[in-house]
Symmetry: C2
Subunit: 245 residues, 2 copies
């Protein structure tokens, strides 16, 4: 059995998320598994680096699957892209060591969140950014970003309900770039809890709007109370931008 | 009567073009005129800097209209955006001299054409770029670009059929930038004939693929025979990016 690693881009706008659902055809994993199973003439399960929620996009999702197929890697790559809908694309494909596991072997994950500022949303970014009219106080946002970096229990910044596993994660960096009205926040870490990027982002926006302070962010890291943090910002501004192994 | 100048962005993907059509609701001008006429409680005609074809986008289309309304410019701006579909946005609005005319007063128009190179089209650029798999020979393309700059009769690079008016135009510059797989060509000129950017772009691509030579481009400027030039490339890669007055 050969092990194939895929890097995948998708526009999550019309999907219910990454994870296959029994009764819906509208998942990214489902679309990929259907095409790959058809190609292999048997049921193939693919392993993603992690789930993305409904409406979230990816520029560099990674998944792997094992199969014995009498086709070159390049032929497999072409076959899959040919049969995928055009809002899902496998950008890279390679044969990897049989022990490679897309989820267990993740070293760093990178997410990007786009915020479009100004009076009016752009027709071109409206599906890929959260529109915030008022300018944000980026000095305060930067202070809050600094306090979030490092190793913390991020329970208060997640939708995790029943704590069975550790909710400690290391956020290696949060940074942002500005390109005219478009603010792009980049989050790099060893792993992210459910909704963690969207709740941190929602909190940072509230800090930028002076509805919260950088000290509040520090406090929530200690109290770990979700209700004290900002809103879960909308999924369509979020991109899983890269996974490193 | 006050004269209002609007700068407009639109995703042309689901429209039949700028120009109002008697029997279709799917034009940009039509959408704008309907909203503005509703606001003014009488029929208002707007004047665009020029037409864009079906499927062509705009980042900086300009149009003006004359009206007497008991609302501030900012209130008018908000009203129009509120009632426009979200793939059309008025980004700027100002009251201008009554003699200002969006079409007659144009000094420079700027168009951008996006080409996405590489084996697979991006899910995010597929609606806004033309996908070309093979890398282009940009040395040859640059030579052809140089010979097109300046004042020429561009009849051979247009869809103009019956020549009534002059087909001489000045192309101030053609340049390109590359951002990974995305090539963006910028055309600045005093005016453009019908399909001129798309035919020049189609010709430049064929030069980059060695189907034509930079000398062919020079020759077509002299022979003015449309059939000798390259294909009219697809509309969805084209943006009217700016109009200067």
């Amino acid at each position: 059995m050969k092990n194939y690693k895929m890097t995948i881009q998708y526009d999550g706008g019309r999907y219910l998320g990454w994870q296959r659902l029994p009764k819906s055809d509208r998942t990214i994993q489902g679309k990929l598994e259907n095409v790959i199973s058809e190609m292999c003439e048997r049921e193939i399960k693919i392993i993603g680096s992690g789930r993305t929620d409904a409406g979230v996009h990816a520029l560099g999702q990674v998944a792997n699957f094992k199969a014995d197929i009498d086709m070159s890697t390049s032929e497999i790559h072409d076959y899959i892209n040919h049969y995928l809908p055009n809002d899902i694309v496998v950008t890279d494909m390679e044969e990897v060591d049989e022990r490679f596991h897309s989820r267990y072997n993740v070293k760093i994950k990178e997410y990007t969140y786009h915020i479009y500022t100004g009076d009016f949303q752009s027709p071109f970014y409206r599906k890929y950014s959260w529109h915030i009219k008022e300018p944000l106080d980026m000095g305060s946002v930067s202070l809050a970003m600094e306090s979030l970096q490092g190793t913390h229990d991020f329970l208060g910044f997640s939708s995790v309900k029943k704590v069975k596993k550790s909710t400690v994660r290391t956020l290696h960096s949060i940074s942002y770039t500005q390109d005219g009205p478009l603010l792009s926040f980049v989050f790099k870490g060893d792993g992210f809890l459910h909704n963690m990027v969207r709740i941190i982002m929602g909190t940072l926006v509230e800090v930028g709007q002076h509805k919260m302070t950088p000290e509040d962010v520090q406090r929530i890291l200690n109290t770990k109370v979700r209700a004290e943090a900002g809103i879960t910002c909308p999924p369509h501004g979020l991109f899983l931008s890269a996974v490193q192994y």
